[in-house]
């Protein structure tokens, strides 16, 4: 029974780890999109103002 509980705990840890990885991927992707949009918006506005 102890071994079964240990296996279940290990399964749960693995699942939690992969959920963490998935959240990490989502945060990185969203962060990149944010950086891209802000950087582009600022530089484009400067260029339009220059024109």
């Amino acid at each position: 029974m102890e071994r079964a509980a240990h296996t279940t705990r290990r399964e749960q840890n693995r699942k939690q780890r992969w959920v963490g990885y998935a959240i990490g991927v989502a945060i990185e992707s969203a962060g990149i999109c944010f950086i891209m949009l802000v950087a582009f918006a600022i530089s484009y506005l400067v260029a339009v103002w220059y024109r």
Partner: protein, 499 residues
């Protein structure tokens, strides 16, 4: 200067042999692709290539049998020397394909792939075999993680000296306490993104009407080119071939994520979410991206060639981001940088390429960490000037953990940045010597040295052989960040002149 002993040569030979065998094993993938698509001639090229790698690797390991572990010097020499040997042997299937004018051109393509540069001298790219396409993209993907990382993951077991080879390849970050676990963590991050990114690009390919199998292969290859910040693509018109804004945005996201430090990925993945906006490299990247983009956008406005924001985004932003992350993907013809863009816009892209992206990533260039450290060092010096001479001026920077900035940090960063500037200058001067215009010479030299791969049209099979050799050396030095190459040069000199 002490002459290296036979034992030193043996240890370098042994580990180089292991890495060469690894390159041979890697060729199994394009060989399988060639077999699946019944490209018998390409399959035979890979059999010959594998034969050469396994024979050379076996001979080296047999002749250099030793129980000694690596010292720092050995690690550095193995890292730089193995890249050269891997280039020469990995180029065999390239040369046998008949798409290269000379073996030097094939070696150029190999070094460009391993170092994730993306410049190429291949002729008739649009009609190469699936197998060769897979090999080119696989080696850029593998080179992005690092040849040593591959060896550490699969071939070198529990060696205390393994970390020294890993550092020799220009990576210093330890994601885990153990360097072999670190190598495996790097692969976990890369393979997870490979699955997600390829699926997304596959879907995008189908949306624009590509046939399913072709769309899948293009998705995998474009992902490998983007993630590794390599810039290789299966078509000569690069990403512009797809004529799809959605496809371009997907590649943008992939190559920007790919240009980030593996330690940053690992920190965000394992729970430290704030790292993404606290890390000195992401801050530095954001600021320098914005500045170089502004220079390019103003330059483009001078000539008024793009009428709306979407066009500026798809042409201007795409190329600056591609240059800044040292990817080299493009959506327009190479000569347009010179003939269509204003010099200011082209200079903005050159600066972006020179700076590059993150340390311990697949990218090249000065690196955001060094730019951040130098900027903080400047701030510290200004503060020292305006404060009483006895005042202590502590300055901190955050990269995974808070670190107190010391003069040695600034000195080390400056030394590497100066080496890059010297290398960029060397290639530029040689280009000018051979009669190319100044902007093109600087553009392609910086592109080669920072492992970017954007070209102004200078890098072609017709360029003089000495320039090809210098570009190969620039790609190699830029990727390994000089120190291991200095170690190899020192090793060779002391072999000849040492006592």
């Amino acid at each position: 200067m002490t002459r290296p002993r036979l034992a030193d040569v043996k240890i370098v030979g042994l580990y180089t042999g292991k890495i060469v065998v690894g390159i041979g094993l890697l060729m199994l993938v394009p060989f399988a692709v060639s077999m699946i698509f019944q490209e018998w001639a390409a399959a035979l090229d890979f059999v010959i290539g594998m034969g050469a790698c396994f024979s050379a690797g076996y001979l080296l390991q047999t002749a250099c049998q030793t129980q000694r572990d690596l010292s720092w010097m050995h690690g550095m020499v193995v890292a730089s020397f193995s890249w050269l040997v891997a280039m020469v042997l990995g180029a065999i299937p390239h040369y046998l394909s008949g798409h290269f004018g000379s073996y030097l051109d094939a070696c150029f393509d190999l070094m460009s792939g391993y170092t994730t540069t993306g410049l190429y001298l291949l002729q008739d790219l649009d009609h190469i075999s699936y197998g060769l396409n897979m090999w080119r993209h696989l080696l850029t993907y593998a080179g992005g993680q690092g040849i040593i990382v591959i060896a550490l993951t699969f071939m070198v077991k529990g060696s205390a000296g393994a970390f020294k080879m890993y550092v020799g390849e220009g990576k210093e970050e330890k994601l885990m306490p153990n360097v072999i676990q670190t190598a495996r963590a790097i692969w976990l991050v890369s393979l997870t993104y490979l699955a997600i990114g390829s699926l997304a690009l596959w879907g995008a390919g189908m949306l624009i009407g590509m046939e399913s199998v072709r769309s899948f292969l293009h998705a995998v290859w474009i992902f490998m080119g983007a993630w590794s910040t390599g810039g290789f693509a299966p078509q000569s018109y690069n990403v512009g071939y797809y004529h799809s804004g959605f496809y371009e945005i997907l590649t943008l996201v992939i190559f920007i994520i790919g240009s980030f430090n593996f330690a940053l990925h690992w920190a965000v993945w394992t729970g430290d979410r704030r790292e993404i906006y606290r890390n000195i490299e992401t801050i530095s990247f954001f600021i320098t991206l914005m500045l170089t983009l502004t220079i390019t956008a103003v330059g483009l406005q001078q000539f008024g060639i793009y009428s709306d924001a979407v066009a500026v985004f798809r042409k201007g932003f795409y190329h600056v981001a591609s240059g800044h992350t040292t990817t080299g993907f493009g959506t327009m013809a190479a000569r347009q940088f010179i003939t269509q863009w204003s010099p200011l816009a082209t200079i903005g892209t050159i600066i972006a390429m020179a700076i590059g992206a993150s340390a311990a990533s697949t990218a090249g260039g000065f690196k955001g960490l060094r730019m951040g450290i130098i900027f903080k060092g400047l701030i510290q010096d200004v503060k020292r000037l305006i404060n009483p001479s006895t005042a202590v001026v502590p300055v901190w920077f955050h990269h995974i953990r808070d670190t107190l900035l010391t003069d040695s940090h600034v000195r080390a960063a400056m030394l590497i940045v100066l080496s890059y500037v010297g290398m960029y200058s060397l290639g530029s001067v040689l280009g000018i010597y051979y009669g190319y215009d100044v902007v093109s010479s600087i553009f392609d030299s910086v592109s080669a040295g920072s492992n970017t791969g954007l070209s102004s049209g200078l890098a072609s099979p017709a360029m003089p052989s000495p320039l090809k050799v210098v570009y190969i050396a620039q790609m190699w030095m830029g990727r390994l960040e000089f120190m291991s190459i200095f170690a190899l040069i020192g090793f060779l000199i002391s072999t000849v002149r040492g006592k």
